[in-house]
């Protein structure tokens, strides 16, 4: 009973913090924190699956989140017919050719006896394959990117209805999960055999590569030119503001139509995200308390003993790596939906990998409820530390003369307080409550 009371109190605290934001600042910013908090909680669930259940040290979360975002573009945007006509076939042939090269090389490595002949054949296949691939790929890409580069210049998605079919964006969420799972399978196959530190570096590198690909392959998602104006599952504010029924309801609540419409849209998103979070949470909870979950934890605590008991450690690791990454992919797709745009330049490891780690560690690794709590709490801090830091700096510098360089510098630097605070929170929790706020049972 004691534990239930404590957990309820912790969640009540988060609720109070968010509602307090609503009263003190604005309901828009409170709902902003809530929406991103829901997404962060889902990401934290995914990381908790990998680290809390299985002890896998994955610091490539950013990559999977970005893949989810990519899926949103690929599913929800209308196809660019001209670009498809210009080079769509060429790109697909080139990609198939590249994949075939890799498959054939893998087969050669598997089937042929080791020796200099195999090395020569493998090298020839890889180098030859690469040049053929580039020879097919480059002209097709050039043709695609030449199609109206200011607004499209990429292949677009598969949504035939365009902006009118906003519900296609919801389809993108599971697709984001699938895309992330597929990439996680490839990564897991190669990198999961590595020791924990090496796996960490490997995942860190893969995340950077995924971002590099998304920044540079303009034919795929316009790269750093960004895709904006994604169709959305929620109504548009402008439409609401011209809808008489909505205006009437807003007036009866005593709100002006602009605020009412933005809040209503955010509430719609919050409802959608909450449904996803609840579904994933229940699934994760069921998994944790199933024989599978107990096996995962046994593997985490003692790999050798579990292996001796006949558990396939590598296969289970691969499985949980894929599942956790898929959840991060879903969250990434949801986040891009909420933003309404895909901006590869904004993906930074501090924000999308290490912050999620802070959430899991602070909330309590190995406990799903803890991960969700950490997601909300740390996201709240991440958003609110900046205004709080500004207040603090203004208090510190209030005695100084206006316009003194030190005062200007201190107030300008308040924005960087959040990284310091996150590090401090992480270190304090690790030191004084290493199992997190809601420890594993």
């Amino acid at each position: 009973m004691n534990e239930t009371v404590k957990n309820t109190a912790l969640f009540a605290l988060v609720a109070v913090l968010i509602i307090g934001t609503g009263f003190l600042q604005s309901w828009n910013s409170a709902l902003f924190i809530l929406n991103f908090g829901l997404i962060s909680a889902i990401m934290a669930l995914g990381v908790n699956l990998q680290w809390g259940f299985a002890g896998l040290f994955n610091v490539g979360i950013m990559g999977f989140v970005a893949l989810g975002g990519l899926a949103t573009v690929l599913v929800s945007m209308p196809p660019t017919t001209d670009a498809w006509a210009a080079g769509g076939g060429g790109v697909i042939v080139a990609l198939l050719m590249g994949a075939a090269t890799i498959v054939v090389t893998a087969l050669v490595i598997k089937r042929m006896p080791a020796g200099w002949l195999r090395t020569v054949i493998v090298l020839a296949l890889l180098i030859g394959g690469f040049f053929v691939y580039r020879w097919l790929f480059d002209p097709a890409v050039a043709r695609i990117e030449a199609v109206n580069p200011a607004s499209t210049g990429y292949l677009g998605g598969i949504n035939p209805g365009g902006a009118a079919w906003g519900w296609m964006t919801l389809v993108a969420w599971p697709v984001g999960g699938l895309l992330a799972a597929g990439v996680a399978w490839i990564i897991g196959k190669t990198a999961l055999g590595l020791r924990s530190d090496y796996l960490a570096i490997a995942t860190l590198g893969i995340a950077e590569i995924i971002i590099a690909v998304m920044k540079n392959e303009d034919w795929l998602s316009r790269g750093v030119k960004n895709v904006i104006g994604l169709p959305r599952p929620a109504p548009y504010e402008i439409e609401l503001q011209s809808d008489p029924a909505f205006l009437e309801r807003a007036a009866s609540l005593g709100m002006d139509p602009v605020t009412a419409s933005t809040i209503w849209v955010k509430l719609v998103y919050a409802g959608l995200f909450a449904v996803v979070l609840v579904i994933l949470f229940v699934l994760a909870q069921r998994a944790l308390h199933s024989p599978w979950g107990r096996m995962m934890r046994a593997i985490r605590d003692n790999e050798n003993a579990s292996e001796a008991m006949g558990k396939d450690v590598t296969a289970r690791h691969l499985q949980v790596f894929i599942l956790g990454s898929a959840i991060c992919g879903i969250a990434g797709a949801m986040m891009t939906t909420l933003d309404g745009q895909l901006t590869p330049g904004t993906y930074q490891p501090l924000r999308f990998t290490f912050l999620i780690w802070v959430m899991v560690i602070v909330g309590g690794s190995g406990n799903n409820l803890g991960a969700v709590l950490g997601g909300f709490l740390i996201w709240f801090l991440w958003v609110q530390v900046e205004p709080m830091g500004l207040l603090l700096m203004q208090a510190i510098t209030s005695g100084m003369t206006d316009g003194s360089p030190l005062k200007v510098h201190l107030i300008e630097s308040a924005a960087h307080m959040r990284l310091l605070t996150m590090g401090l929170v992480l270190l304090l929790v690790l030191r004084f409550s290493p199992r997190g706020l809601i420890p594993e049972r």
């Binding site: 002890g55 040290f57 690469f130 480059d138 190669t190 990198a191 590595l194 020791r195 924990s196 530190d197 090496y198 960490a200 570096i201 490997a202 860190l204 590198g205 893969i206 950077e208 590569i209 590099a212 920044k215 540079n216 930074q348 490891p349 501090l350 290490f354 780690w357 802070v358 560690i361 300008e412 630097s413 960087h416 307080m417 959040r418 990284l419 310091l420 605070t421 996150m422 590090g423 401090l424 992480l426 270190l427 690790l430 030191r431 290493p434």
Partner: protein, 336 residues
């Protein structure tokens, strides 16, 4: 066919930049590898340690510049470097005392220490941005070139020019001096030997009366020096930006792992392997090929294997290949 010009172009665009970059990576990787060998964890805060040391150096450089002190043709930053190292040492010893020592006494698992270093990374990153801001800072002064393109062309009469930046020269010379001093210290002095003994077998080292806290303290001081030197050289050669230093973590770790974590010699070999492959794969070979090949074979395009933005991908692929075929790196590293 003009092999001489081809070689000059190759040196100008590939060999010299890669040697300079490789020296910087090697110095960074030496720091990572020393921490791994002695303290037995992968320090994710290393990139930000480099940024901190460089920041202190930059602040002192600006101070000296405002006093009108300079080294003539050499960058003033060299004069400020010792102060940067001292500042970095102070920070690292302080972090060790308040953060890492607790976990060392608890004999925490290495992966816990890695997560702790993530926290330290956040704090150092915030600290650097807080003090100097997130923007680009250039602090190189003095003579820009040892050999400029024009003087080289006048001297040799070749069509292709060769430029050696002062910073590139300084990088290589400093790296050689630092590495020589480090190896002399590790192999010849009593303290260095006790460090290697501690790294090889902790229990045996304790039994023979080596003071672990002293070994750890000296390791942090050496790491601070290496990180600051690496960071300042990189900053002089390119420019200083906190985020770039954080991103350097990847090639540095790749270098340390390719060479074999815990092996200083491996870190150097790894640094150059990564640097050369990054530069060579992302360089547009059109010019060199145009000189080296007969006209009929000269390429039409840029002959660039991958665009420069994929340089992280290159270091990572090298890392994976080495790990798949030699799981402990080129110079058999250790594993905890």
């Amino acid at each position: 066919m003009d092999l001489l010009n081809a070689f000059v172009a190759l040196s100008n665009f590939v060999l010299i930049p890669a040697i300079a970059y490789g020296s910087q990576l090697a110095l960074g990787a030496l720091g990572v590898t020393l921490i791994y060998g002695i303290l037995r964890f992968s320090n994710f805060a290393h990139g930000d340690t480099m940024a901190f040391g460089t920041m202190v150096t930059i602040l002192f450089t600006w101070l000296f510049q405002s006093w009108g002190i300079s080294l003539g043709p050499l960058p003033t930053a060299l004069l400020a470097l010792p102060f940067g190292i001292l500042g970095c040492m102070a920070l690292l010893l302080f972090t060790d005392r308040v953060v890492y020592k607790f976990y060392r006494e608890q004999k925490a698992k290495p992966v816990i220490l890695v997560i702790v270093s993530l926290g330290v990374m956040f704090i150092m990153n915030g600290l650097v941005r807080f003090i100097i801001g997130p923007d680009d800072q250039r602090f190189a002064d003095g003579e820009r070139f040892i050999v400029s393109v024009r003087t080289f062309k006048e001297m040799t009469g070749l069509e292709e020019g060769l430029a050696i930046k002062t910073t590139q020269g300084i990088t290589v010379i400093t790296a050689v001096i630092v590495v020589a001093a480090l190896f002399w210290f590790l192999n010849r002095t009593r303290t260095g030997k006790s460090m290697r003994a501690y790294s090889d077998n902790e229990d045996l080292a304790l039994l023979s009366g080596i003071n672990p806290e002293r070994v750890v303290m000296i390791t942090w001081m050496i790491v601070a020096a290496l990180a600051t030197v690496a960071g300042v050289l990189y900053g002089l050669d390119k420019s200083f930006k906190p985020f770039t230093y954080f991103q350097l973590l990847l090639p540095i770790f790749a270098s340390a792992i390719v060479g074999g974590l815990g092996s200083p010699l491996g870190a150097i070999a790894g640094g150059f392997t990564i640097a050369f492959s990054e530069v060579m794969v992302t360089y547009a070979w059109k010019k060199v090929a145009g000189y080296a090949l007969p006209e009929s074979l000269a390429p039409d395009g840029l002959a660039q294997l991958l665009s420069t933005d994929y340089k992280f991908a290159v270091s990572f692929v090298i890392l994976l290949i080495v790990l798949l075929f030699r799981p402990t790196g080129l110079f058999a590293g250790k594993s905890v």
